[in-house]
């Protein structure tokens, strides 16, 4: 009996350990390495950065990389533009995703699984291919422009590809499923009687939506927004393929610093700043939420 309990607790420890180990190996360790590189100096060597401890064994820390990010306006503008772009895509996904998720959650259970399948169906095709497909759609002699010219709406092709709008379209398209799925999960779990009860007590359909459905879907809204906003912030492929040469988004700057300029320390600093930019607002948001919930009681 005693050994059974021991086995049980041991097993519980192991199951808890797995995610921690995962985080340690695949997040904390790489993060430590990136942090270390960001505090080094670029050198022409292999690897292209100075060691953390010099020959004498003294710690050499170089904060110039971070200082440079603040000095050069380009980086601030790039961060800002990335935030705006990701925010626009997130809002668009939310506006499109909410009614879709709501519709699926309220549909006949038999058609529901089919509709969900349709939502995840694009994942069966390579992400890269789908973005390439958008190039075919948006190009000057692509499907959309050809169609517009055939209709006679425009004589000259309208420049869509290689604009910020194309990036926005690409982001919104690619990340829409990540908004729909968590929203669906919360809406599907919601007791439909709640909306009926609100209407029974005098709320119109619209009022019942804002009083009941929306607040109860909030967890899904937040999860969906994070799942869209965070990867959209650092997105590299979409701006690279659909955006113009001057479309400087943070993912692209990061890539260029690493591979074109081979300035690993500066690139690492950019990555660290991106993380800080993402983590700080999320922590604040969650804090506020916890406080709201306390106040509600």
């Amino acid at each position: 009996m005693a050994s059974l309990i021991k086995k049980d607790t041991l097993w519980r420890h192991i199951t808890v350990l797995v995610p921690y180990l995962w985080l340690l190996v695949f997040f904390l360790l790489p993060f430590g390495i990136i942090l270390k590189i960001s505090l080094a100096e670029p050198v022409l060597a292999q690897p292209p950065f100075s060691p953390t401890f010099d020959e004498t064994g003294a710690l050499s820390v170089n904060t110039d990389n971070f200082a440079f990010l603040f000095r050069d306006k380009l980086y601030a503008l790039t961060y800002l533009k990335s935030v705006l772009m990701a925010a626009a895509a997130t809002i668009c996904c939310l506006l499109l995703g909410f009614p879709i998720a709501y519709g699926i959650a309220r549909s006949d259970p038999r058609t529901r699984s089919l509709l969900l399948l349709l939502i995840v169906l694009p994942f069966w095709i390579s992400f890269l291919l789908r973005v390439y497909a958008w190039m075919g759609l948006l190009g000057n002699y692509g499907v959309i422009n050809n169609f517009l010219m055939w209709l006679g709406i425009t004589a000259q092709p309208i420049q869509i590809l290689y604009t910020d709008f194309a990036i926005f379209l690409g982001l919104a398209y690619s990340y829409l499923p990540f908004m729909i799925l968590p929203l669906y999960a919360t809406l599907e779990r919601m007791d439909l009687d709640l909306v009926d009860a609100a209407m029974d007590l005098g709320a119109s359909r619209t009022t019942a939506f804002w009083d009941i459905t929306w607040p109860l879907a909030r967890a899904g809204v937040i999860a969906g927004c994070m799942l869209v906003f965070i990867p959209a912030m650092g997105e590299y492929v979409i701006p690279y393929l659909l955006g113009g040469p001057d479309a400087l988004l943070i993912g692209r700057v990061l890539f260029d610093e690493f591979y074109v300029n081979r300035d690993w320390p500066l690139a690492s600093a950019v990555a660290i700043m991106l993380l800080v930019l993402l983590v700080v607002p999320i922590v604040v948001l969650q804090r506020n939420q916890a406080r709201d919930e306390e106040q509600a009681i």
Partner: protein, 368 residues
Amino acid sequence: MSSSRNPCFIRIRGVSKLFGDFVAIDDVSLDIAQGELFSILGGSGCGKTTLLRILAGFEQPTRGRVEIDGVDVTDIPAYDRPVNMMFQSYAIFPHMSVEKNISYGLRKDKVGSAEIAQRVDEVIELVQLGDFRKRDPDQLSGGQRQRVALARALIKRPKVLLLDEPLAALDKKLREHTQFELMNIQHELGITFVVVTHDQEEAMTLSTRIAVMNKGRLLQVGEPREIYEYPETRFVADFIGTINTFEGRVSSVDEQHIQVNCETAGGDLMAFNEHELKSGDKVCIAVRPEKIFISRDPPENSEDIRIRGTVDDLGYLGNLSLYRVRLESGKVILVSQQNRQRSAKRSIEWEEQIWVSWRPRSSIVLVN
């Protein structure tokens, strides 16, 4: 109040509801009087909840009209009806405190905050939730949630309160207690209650009148005693309580009585001719277990229906003893007997040869 009661406070006329091809409600007409505690009783899928949702305004009837207090409400949406509902799931808003839940209806009606506070106090006192008003719903027990749901539905002082399986989610002890509380509250407020339930015992104790539904049709409406003692159909007889049935044909008819030849009873059973039956008509004789006497010696009263049998099984329930008696035809009937005498010994044993008998008056005649 009772003198001015409107017997047709709720008037349901020819209401049918179709979901695609499925007939959920089939041409139901029903009057419910003001101040009644009216139960709609039936198994799952019989249409009782759909009928309640039509009264609440969540479903539109495919045909027919619904009037409440003289006003045709058929086309009035749920939020404008003088009706409130207590849901089977209670449907407590999980993101609002008890108080906020209860005041929701008044807040939607833009009632002044002073009046809201006063009426919340009143209704919280009525359902005895005083200590819990600041709590969140997830901190409440099942019984407390039920009270919140009740308070929230009562606070708008509806003309009609609809209750969908109000006690189904509670355990047995609490259910009995809450049942009487519901009756008291109903009596105190004089609001017309329409209760949907699948529990015949609950319907019997709660209601002034019961409507029994099956497959979307209204089978019988009446007081609990009427429904129990004078069921009109086999379904109602079976659904309410337990009953023994004997199929047969009318063999002879006199002024008052009929004789029904039932193979399973091993002969003729006498009953009162309440349906103007003729010789040869196919009928079913039904007897409630508690109307049957069981005895070792042949019953003396020659008017009584007497059949021989053996005790197949018996169960002692304290107040009652239940017997499964096998008749000579092989049919097994259920007999229940009150244990009137205090005794440690069984009066009748397993496998014992006995007589069962009942008064002709106790025979229920079911046609078709």
